[in-house]
Structures are given as structure tokens and as C-alpha cells.
């Protein structure tokens, strides 16, 4: 505990020094803190180079609050970010500097976002949408297409009940339907992934996965999707799905593999794999079990699930995550290779961000706000200045004494006063 506090102080001083010296920021991370339901305290945390710049970033920048229960965040292009604020019925658009640009309430009960840089696609549990052609009503859920030129909904498409995950591949949207209100409403859980032509917003196919309630984070790695199914918490167990969008578009009747593991929180890695923290719960026993997966989706699909699924996470991540109170999200920064996971704790206190280097060696933690669970990394300054691409360096048995900076880059000659990592431990070069 004391160690981490010291680390925070050191990192904060380091960040301050970088600002004062005008040094380029290499790690920029936005995290949505969901807050507490109906308490209007959804927040945005912003982290630079390992230290928290603000746990109320949106509010600090704009002078007003974000709203209630932010649920997803994506980068649309270099100048625009979208945040779905679920209980406020708002889709908030901001710049990468956090400045609010526009907001729309035309897609109530919005859930998850995808974008092709020109349009934003939003899944919604609602049954009504305000479009350029007037109000459209739906029996089930729907996907809305928002033109970022005027932030209006230009088209919609009805999908299954309570659609959740949404991904864009080869001009098509892939929607994971949950039917999550099935235990309250008069319909059953959904089992389908709907495929929509993004240009025409017409449904072109619906793939029955045979697995119910496709709920939670849905990560994408190229043509592959990682989809979670928590089951019904009674008779149907949790599962995970690796879905091949290419095969689905090519007409393969079964373009997916169902894994006997949950993928409750999952993310895409820089090498194209999926990492997943899975939890299964049964109302019969009141007990839950965890699994921790690294999935090679290509190998998994090719082998029909026989290969490509490993019960491990990089470095010490499994043990570190097992010691958390309530894991709430996992992420790898695509620019720096750093790994992150959040712990929501008791759900009434500040959540915690844990950080690992690209090899999975634990670096430290930072306090955030309530229920932090959704990540977006921004391009490092060096990318914008053309310094070059940072690629996570895989661990090698021969690299035992290799030295890395905080962004995971191997350093041949550490500079005096700098903070580096070697053999999984931080040190200050003196």
C-alpha cells in the first residue's frame, strides 16, 4: 500500500515535470466511471503517463456533469470521441481534449458504440428513436446510425431484444443480442448475432449461436469477436463465443466456436489475441467461479475450439486480479502495450486502476471513481509528432535483465533520474 502511494507520488511528480518541461505524453488513457445508478455521478477519469490527471475530467473541462451511468466510449476520428451515457439517454461527443462538442438524446437507453469514422452506430434497448424522418418505434431493440456532421440519426434497424455489443467489419455491423429483460418481460433470452449492412442499415443475416444472453463487453480483433454469455444464472451456464465475421459474411452457417468459459470482461491485445476474465454464478448455490483466458481467435476457429484457448494471462496478472475485490474491466493500451484492469471494490467507494507492463509485470495502481469499467487509449504525443510506432516487446527468457521505460519500450541506456522497469520491478536510475 505504502509502496503504491510512493509510486503514485513519483509518477505524479514525473507527469508534472513532463508538463513543465513540455515533454511529450506517451500514455493517455480515458476511463469511464459508471458511478451509482440514479445518482447522476457518472464521471470520466483521465490518466497520463501512469498518473491520474483528473477523476472528473469531463466536468473539469466543461464545467458541468456528464450524467448518469456512462456505458461505452469510442474514438470516432482524430478529433472526436463518443460516450454513451445510458441512464441520461445521452450520447455525448467530446474532443480528445475532453471538450464537449455535441450531445443527442435521440437514442434513449443507448448501450454500446461503433464507428467507421463518418458515422456512429449505437445499440439501444429502447423502443423509440428520433430520426431525421421522424420518430420510429420498435418492438424489440434497435441500432441507430448517427451522422457526425450534424449528430442526427439518419437510419435505424430493428434487431433482437436488448442488443448489446456492436462491432463493424467489412461494411457490416455485428450485433450481439441479449434479451436481458427476459426475466422481467414477456420474451425469452436472445441467442443471435444480427448482421446489418452498415450502408443501407438493413439486416442481412441473423446467426443463431445456440447460446443465450450475449451480454457484456464484446471485443473485436480484426475479423474476430469475443462475446460473453452469462447464461441465465440458474440452469444455463455461462459461456464464451469466438465469432468469425468473415466466415459469417461468406455464408458459413456456423462461423463461431462456443467455449465452456465465461468471457465476462474481455479485451483485445496488441498481438490480436483476446484476454478474458470470466465469472460464472449460480443462484442455486450462490457461488461463483472464475476463469482467466488468453485466446488466439484464429487458432480457436480453425481448430473448432480444440486449440488456441489457454488458461492464463500475461505475467502476474492472474494472481493480481484474483486478489481484487470486484474485477470490473480489462484492457491493453494498443499504443503502449500496457495492461490495465479495474477493481470496483465495494461498488460504493473509489474503484482502482491496476497497471501491468506489456509482459504482465505489475507496476502499480491508481484510485479512480465509482465503478470504473470502460477504457479508451489515445494516441501518444510521439505518434502525432511522427516519432514512430511503439510495439510491445514479447518477453523472452534471454531478456531477464532488459530495461524498459514506463511505456514498455526497451531502453538500452537508461537516463539518470528516469523511472524504468527491469525484471518486473521499478527503479529510478541514479
Amino acid at each position: 500500500m505504502k509502496k503504491f502511494t510512493c509510486l503514485r507520488v513519483i509518477l505524479a511528480m514525473s507527469a508534472m515535470a513532463s508538463v513543465l518541461s513540455g515533454r511529450a505524453v506517451e500514455e493517455k488513457l480515458i476511463i469511464l466511471d459508471e458511478g451509482m445508478w440514479q445518482a447522476d455521478n457518472g464521471r470520466v477519469s483521465y490518466i497520463e503517463d501512469g498518473s491520474v490527471v483528473s477523476n472528473s475530467w469531463f466536468r473539469d473541462v466543461n464545467g458541468y456533469k456528464l450524467g448518469d451511468t456512462p456505458n461505452d466510449i469510442i474514438q470516432i476520428n482524430d478529433n472526436l470521441i463518443a460516450i454513451s451515457v445510458n441512464w441520461s439517454n445521452i450520447i455525448q461527443f467530446i474532443t480528445p481534449e475532453g471538450k464537449a462538442v455535441a450531445a443527442t438524446e435521440n437514442v434513449p437507453n443507448n448501450r454500446r458504440l461503433a464507428s467507421d469514422g463518418r458515422y456512429v452506430y449505437v445499440s439501444s434497448y429502447g423502443h423509440e428513436c428520433e430520426t431525421v424522418n421522424g420518430t420510429v418505434k420498435f418492438t424489440k431493440g434497435y441500432v441507430a446510425k448517427i451522422d457526425i456532421n450534424d449528430f442526427r440519426v439518419v437510419a435505424t434497424c430493428e434487431v433482437g431484444y436488448e442488443p448489446e455489443g456492436i462491432a463493424l467489419y467489412d461494411g457490416h455491423l455485428f450485433i450481439a443480442n441479449t434479451g436481458g429483460y427476459a426475466f422481467q418481460e414477456d420474451h425469452e433470452y436472445e441467442r443471435t448475432v444480427d448482421i446489418i449492412d452498415a450502408a443501407t442499415m438493413r439486416k442481412v443475416n441473423s446467426i443463431d449461436t445456440g447460446v443465450i444472453n450475449l451480454y457484456g463487453t464484446m471485443s473485436q480483433s480484426g475479423q474476430y469477436l469475443c462475446i460473453n454469455s452469462p447464461g441465465d444464472y440458474y440452469d444455463i451456464d455461462a459461456a464464451g463465443i469466438i465469432f468469425d465475421c468473415r466466415k459469417a459474411l461468406d455464408g458459413d452457417p456456423q462461423p463461431f466456436v462456443v467455449m465452456p468459459y465465461a468471457c465476462t470482461y474481455n479485451c483485445t491485445t496488441t498481438d490480436g489475441s483476446f484476454l478474458a476474465i470470466g465469472s460464472r454464478y449460480s443462484y442455486y448455490t450462490g457461488e461463483y467461479t472464475f476463469n482467466y483466458l488468453t485466446i488466439d481467435p484464429g487458432l480457436c476457429i480453425e481448430s473448432g475450439g480444440a486449440e488456441g484457448i489457454e488458461n492464463r494471462l500475461p505475467g502476474t496478472m492472474v494472481n493480481d486480479i484474483m486478489s481484487m475485490t470486484s474485477p470490473y474491466g480489462i484492457y491493453q493500451n494498443p499504443y503502449t502495450g500496457m495492461f490495465y484492469a479495474t477493481d470496483a471494490g465495494s461498488f460504493a467507494g473509489a474503484g482502482v486502476l491496476h497497471q501491468w507492463d506489456p509482459q504482465g509485470n505489475y507496476i502499480g495502481k491508481n484510485g479512480l471513481y465509482i465503478n470504473p469499467g470502460h477504457f479508451l487509449a489515445l494516441k501518444p504525443d510521439s505518434w502525432n509528432s511522427g516519432v514512430g510506432t511503439i510495439v510491445a516487446t514479447p518477453a523472452s527468457p534471454d531478456d531477464d535483465n532488459a530495461i524498459y521505460d514506463l511505456l514498455g519500450r526497451r531502453v538500452a541506456t537508461p537516463k539518470k533520474g528516469g523511472i524504468y522497469i527491469s525484471n518486473g520491478k521499478k527503479f529510478i536510475c541514479r
Binding site: E105, Y265, Y283, G349, A350, I370
Partner: protein, 694 residues
């Protein structure tokens, strides 16, 4: 002592009368005895003036109100001094009764309870919001609510919405920390961490009263009260109807927002009819309540009012209960019988509601309760109490994956009370046995069997009373906790509270001056709190045992009163200083942090001035700052100070008619405050009541 008129007898807080006479059935007998000149009652060795018995839970006697019982006849019966030898009450308790109760600006019983030390009210806003009471931070489900000695229960969620009960038919409201400690009590009276007793007023003459009330936010209500007293029987019928839009304005003003609006979906329409019948030790009560109300949500950022989270609720509650208490020599017996039927419909299936599942669920509860207790006092220094309770509850609902549940709840208690040389020692051992039956596919929870003790030691003398007590008790998981679809957890353990208290009180009475002071220091521990949390690493929520709370506090009451010719002046105060700490996880950053929603300091001050039939009462309730999350120091509910003013005047004409008018201003300074973040409470509210009585 001189009693100025007959009605004064009603002003005696009957809790004290019970301690004089030992039990409820002696109540009327005792009054008759008191009204009999020169009659001395001798029950114990402690001799105290009767008026002292009315303290420290103090009454503001002459604050005239317009209810039938409080109409002062012009006849004055002058009686000789009465001295009663009686026990001081042993329990830690606070009482509001008679006209003191009516001097407060209240709309429901919850409003009265907030004037007690150590009480926190949780109110989801306005007239229609759920109102629950939390005593010494133990949680609402550790507070037993009793009407005429029989407990109100809700097997479904264990919480009683105090907004459903009116004070208009109540004689007194009493709060006991731990047990009441009467000679003959039912086991269920021992089975909660704190107990609140509402006692229905027993009519002493025939009367008919009608009241019309108009208040801010389109609030209108009418009330009819009929009372009769003949040949030893007393009967009461009270009916009320209310309608309000509840669309009060609110404002959130801070560095980050300036939100101004009106509360929506906050309307309520209710009807309440209740009656009671008494004769000596027999009492019965019948109650029916029907309401339709909006369930307003939290005020969150929205771009317009186009989509709102509309939920509506319909309640229908009925109960009929009867109680019989008889004392013959050293033997006392108490029998209770009750039937309760409750219906709840909750609907969110409205077009403007886009955010939640569209549900239309119906819940039905039936509950029968029977109890038999026996007490024996073989000597003047010992009494023993034994009792057995049986309750059967049925819950059915049209939830998916839900089947009807039946619960059998049995309790047995044995208690002893020793008194000698001013000392008193009371102890009890309670046994509880819960067993559920259901066809639900999760199966029924395992039967729950537990013994829990309590011990109280007291000493009294020269106007002083000191006491120390210990009590351990649990609350059983409710049927919702165990079986609610996609939340219930049948493996829950009971939530335990352990309480220690040491305190004392001093009473003073001389001439027309009366005063009392009461101080209690306490320590509570609560373990295995039953809470609903998201399950680790899944997206579903479930009831869990999570949490350990350590609470230390101080409750104090200071009261005073003086009668000067036509003037009556009174001051009633209560103070709470409390520190609740989270002791759940020593490894957590939250360990030893204060519990959310719990203020460190709160106090209530009420001043009453009455001149003949004109009275003015001013109340100020202060509640200190409370944190509502641990995440940020700014997640704090601001302290607030609520000042209520009430002016009441009644006029008697033709000797048998009385007309009264009451004007109330609640939250005089229009302070914007919250009990729950983003659920604003109403600001300044005006209320005008007209009453006509025969």
C-alpha cells in the same frame, strides 16, 4: 397535584401509566383511579409524584389542537393531590404523546419519529416516497413497528413504509432501544433491535370530527373521525382521503450545475379507513389502506423531459388484529391474533419509459399471527414472562421463475425481572425458528434456528434513574432477500446486531415547573449485513452478506415545561452524536471509514407556547453532513436545518361545538435538502386545516 380538568388524564403518556399499573388493561382503570380523589395506588416501594411519571418523555399539555380529544371542556374538575408509587421505566425510551404529538407539523408517523434522538429517516422524496426509519444506524429492518402491541410485518421485504400510517388516531408514539420491558410481552416484541410503539387513542367520550386540509402542490385531504365511549366500551373510526400532485419545485445549485425543475410522477392518491374497539384488556384494530402513486426517480442529467423513468405503484393493505390482556393477582396473560393481507402492483410499462424493462408485476401477501404470553409475579421482587408466537406468511407474485413461498416463523421467549432496593435486573432469552416452503427451483433456504439474549440492569432513586443493557438480536433474511428472481440468495445468513447501552435520566417537578434530562451512551456492532451487490465479475446482482459496522454514539434529551395561569410553555429537545465506522475488510481503504448516510450530529428542538386555545409551535430539525459514497470527499449530503411553524386556534361555541383552524409552514426558510442524493425533498410548504367537532 391538581388536575385542572378531566381531559388532562388523557395527556398522561400511557407508557408511564403502564409502568404504574403493569399492563395495558390497567390503563383505564388507572385513569379512573387517578381521577378518584385521595386515592392512593401502591404497587412498589418507590414513591414518586404522578407527574414525574409523565417525564422525561415530556408532553406539552396545553397546546390545544382541534382533534376531538383535545377539545378542552369548560368544566373544571379539581382533584386532590394524587401520589402514585410506581417503578420508573427501565428501558431506554423516548415518547411523544397527546398534544405534544399534535403540536408537531406532521403528515405521517415518520415525521414524528424524526424528532427522536438516534433516529434517521430515509425518505425518497415528498409525499409519495417511501419513508423508513433507522435507529442508531442499525438499518430499517432492525426496527420493529407495533400498533397496540402487535407488530406490523412485511415478510416480502421486511420494511414498513411509515408513510402509510397517520397520527390522527394515535395517542402516543414511543421508541424503545432494545426491549420495552413490560411485565407480560409477546416474543415478537423482543425480536428487533429497536421497537416503535404506536398506541391508538382510547376514546373517553362521544365525538365526531371532520377536517379539511389544503396544502401546497395541489394537495387536498379530508378526514372524518368518530369516537364513542359507552358502558366500558370505546370505539373509534377514522377515515381519510388524500390527493396530491406532489409537483414541488427543486433546485440543484453548485459549481457544476444549476438545475431547476419540478418533481414529476410524484403524485399520490390514497384512502385509509381504520377502526378500533376497546374494553378493559381487550383491544382490536382494523385497518385498510389503498393508494396509487408515482415512483419518481433520481434527478439526473437529461437534455429534455421527453423520456422519463415512469414507474407507478398500487398498494392495498388490510389487517385486523385483536389483543386481550388480563391480570388476575400475580398472573397475567396476553393473547394476540392478527390477519394481514397486502397487495402491491408495480408497473413500468409506459411509452415514455425507455430505460427499464417494461414490467407489470403483482405481489400478494397473506399473513396470520398468533401469540400467547403468560407472566407471573410470585413475589413483589420477581416476575417471570414466557411466551410463544407463531406466524405464517404467504407470498405469491407473477415474476418469472418465481413460485409462491410460505414461511413459518416461530418464536419463544422466557424473561425474568428482579427488583430489590431500587435495583432492577431484567433478562430474556429468545428462540426463533424460521422455515420456508416453496416449489421454486432454487429450493427453500435451510431452516434458521437461533437463541439470542438480552440483559438490562437499572437503579432508581431520588429522581435519578440509571440503566445499562446488552442485547443481541438478528434479522432473518426476508423472502425478497432469499427468493426474488435474479437477486435472491437462499444461502444468506441472518444479519446480527449486538448493542450495549449505558445511560440515565433525571426528572424534576416542582409546582408548575417540570424538567427532565436523559443521556445514553451506546455501542452497536452489526455483522453480516444483508446487501444487494453485483456479483464478483458477473453482470448480475445478488443479495449477499457483506459488511460489518461498528457504531458509537450518544443520545440526549432535555425537556422543560411551565404552566403559568393561561399560559403553557414547553421546550423539547433531542441530540444525537454518533460515529459509525465500516469494519468490513481490514485490508480495504474503506476500513474504519464512516458509514454512508450517517450524520455525526443531529438535533431537534421544539418550542411550544400556548395561551388558552391558541398555540404556536416552532420546530427546528438539524441534520449534519452525511457522506453518500466513499469515492470522493465531495460526495456529501449537505447539512440542513428545517424549521416548521404551526399556529393553531380553536373556538368553542354552544358548549358542544368546536371549530378549529391550523396553519402550518413546513421548511419555513425553503431549505433545499435531500435524504438520498438526487431525490430532492419539498421546500417550503403551506398547509391550512379546518376542523369542526361535535
Amino acid at each position: 397535584m391538581t388536575l385542572e380538568n378531566k381531559d388532562k388524564s388523557e395527556d398522561l403518556p400511557d407508557a408511564n401509566i403502564n409502568h404504574v399499573c403493569g399492563s395495558t388493561d390497567d390503563y383505564l382503570v388507572s385513569i379512573m383511579r387517578i381521577l378518584t380523589p385521595s386515592r392512593l395506588l401502591r404497587r412498589s416501594s418507590s414513591a414518586l409524584p404522578l407527574l414525574i411519571l409523565a417525564l422525561p418523555t415530556f408532553y406539552a399539555g396545553a397546546a390545544n389542537t382541534t382533534t376531538p380529544d383535545s377539545v378542552a371542556p369548560d368544566r373544571v374538575d379539581t382533584l386532590q393531590e394524587v401520589v402514585v408509587n410506581a417503578d420508573m421505566p427501565l428501558a431506554t425510551r423516548q415518547t411523544l404523546s397527546g398534544k405534544e404529538l399534535q403540536a408537531l407539523s406532521t403528515t405521517s408517523v415518520a415525521d414524528a419519529l424524526k424528532y427522536f434522538a438516534g433516529v434517521q429517516i430515509k425518505d425518497y422524496g415528498g409525499l409519495g416516497g417511501l419513508k423508513t426509519v433507522n435507529v442508531r444506524s442499525m438499518g430499517a429492518q432492525h426496527v420493529g413497528i407495533y400498533i397496540d402491541g402487535v407488530r406490523l410485518t412485511n415478510a416480502q421485504n421486511g420494511t414498513i413504509d411509515l408513510g402509510k400510517f397517520s397520527l390522527s388516531s394515535m395517542e402516543s408514539v414511543e421508541l424503545y432501544n432494545a426491549n420495552r420491558l413490560e411485565r407480560c410481552q409477546a416474543p415478537s416484541e423482543f425480536a428487533s433491535g429497536a421497537t416503535v410503539y404506536f398506541r391508538t387513542r382510547r376514546p373517553t367520550r362521544d365525538s365526531l370530527s371532520a377536517q379539511f386540509k389544503a396544502a401546497s402542490f395541489s394537495t387536498f385531504s379530508g378526514k372524518l373521525n368518530l369516537q364513542t365511549s359507552r358502558r366500558g366500551w370505546q370505539a373509534m373510526l377514522d377515515a381519510e382521503a388524500l390527493h396530491t400532485k406532489g409537483d414541488y419545485p427543486f433546485r440543484y445549485h453548485s459549481e457544476y450545475e444549476d438545475t431547476v425543475g419540478r418533481r414529476t410522477n410524484n403524485d399520490i392518491r390514497y384512502y385509509r379507513v381504520e377502526g378500533a374497539l376497546f374494553k378493559n384488556g381487550f383491544s382490536s384494530h382494523i385497518y385498510y389502506y389503498y393508494s396509487e402513486r408515482g415512483c419518481p426517480g433520481g434527478i439526473v442529467r437529461r437534455l429534455s423531459d421527453k423520456y422519463t423513468n415512469v414507474g407507478r405503484e398500487w398498494d392495498s393493505d388490510f389487517f385486523v388484529q385483536t389483543s386481550w390482556r388480563q391480570t388476575l393477582g400475580m398472573h397475567s396473560i396476553l393473547a394476540n391474533l392478527k390477519y394481514t393481507n397486502e397487495y402491491l402492483r408495480y408497473c413500468t410499462d409506459y411509452p415514455e419509459n425507455q430505460n427499464t424493462a417494461k414490467v407489470d408485476n403483482h405481489y400478494h401477501q397473506n399473513d396470520i399471527y398468533s401469540s400467547l404470553s403468560y407472566a407471573c409475579a410470585p413475589t413483589d421482587w420477581l416476575s417471570v414472562n414466557a411466551g410463544y408466537d407463531f406466524r405464517a406468511s404467504w407470498l405469491s407474485a407473477d415474476l418469472k421463475y418465481f413460485s409462491a413461498v410460505r414461511r413459518h416463523d416461530q418464536k419463544a421467549v422466557i424473561a425474568a425481572d428482579l427488583r430489590r432496593w431500587g435495583f432492577r435486573l431484567a433478562g430474556s432469552m429468545l428462540y426463533q425458528y424460521y422455515k420456508d416452503f416453496t416449489q421454486m427451483h432454487t429450493g427453500a433456504a435451510k431452516p434458521l434456528k437461533r437463541f439470542t439474549p438480552s440483559v438490562t440492569l437499572g437503579y432508581e432513586g431520588r429522581g435519578f434513574r440509571v440503566h445499562a443493557w446488552y442485547k443481541k438480536i438478528f434479522r432473518a433474511p426476508t423472502l425478497n432477500d432469499l427468493y426474488y428472481t435474479q437477486a435472491g440468495n437462499r444461502n444468506l445468513k441472518p444479519e446480527y446486531t449486538t448493542q450495549w447501552d449505558i445511560g440515565g435520566e433525571y426528572t424534576f417537578a416542582q409546582g408548575q415547573w417540570n424538567a427532565s434530562a436523559q443521556l445514553d451512551l451506546y455501542l452497536n456492532k452489526i455483522k453480516n449485513r444483508i446487501v444487494c451487490l453485483p456479483i464478483k465479475g458477473t453482470y448480475t446482482w445478488s443479495m449477499m452478506n457483506y459488511g460489518y459496522t461498528f457504531c458509537r454514539g450518544l443520545n440526549a434529551n432535555l425537556n422543560g415545561r411551565v404552566n403559568l395561569a393561561d399560559w403553557n410553555l414547553a421546550l423539547i429537545t433531542s441530540f444525537t452524536l454518533q460515529r459509525d465506522l465500516d469494519r468490513t475488510d481490514p485490508e480495504s481503504d474503506l476500513y474504519n471509514r464512516p458509514i454512508c448516510y450517517s450524520p455525526t450530529f443531529s438535533c431537534g428542538i421544539t418550542a411550544i407556547a400556548a395561551w388558552r386555545t391558541l398555540s404556536l409551535s416552532v420546530s427546528n430539525l438539524y441534520v449534519g453532513k452525511r457522506m453518500w459514497s466513499y469515492a470522493d470527499p465531495e460526495d456529501m449530503l449537505k447539512p440542513y436545518s428545517n424549521v416548521d411553524v404551526k399556529v393553531d386556534y380553536s373556538l368553542q361555541f354552544k358548549k358542544k361545538y368546536t371549530a378549529g383552524v391550523t396553519l402550518e409552514v413546513l421548511d419555513l426558510f425553503d431549505v433545499q435538502y435531500e435524504h438520498v442524493p438526487r431525490y430532492p425533498m419539498p421546500g417550503r410548504t403551506l398547509r391550512l386545516s379546518l376542523t369542526f367537532s361535535i
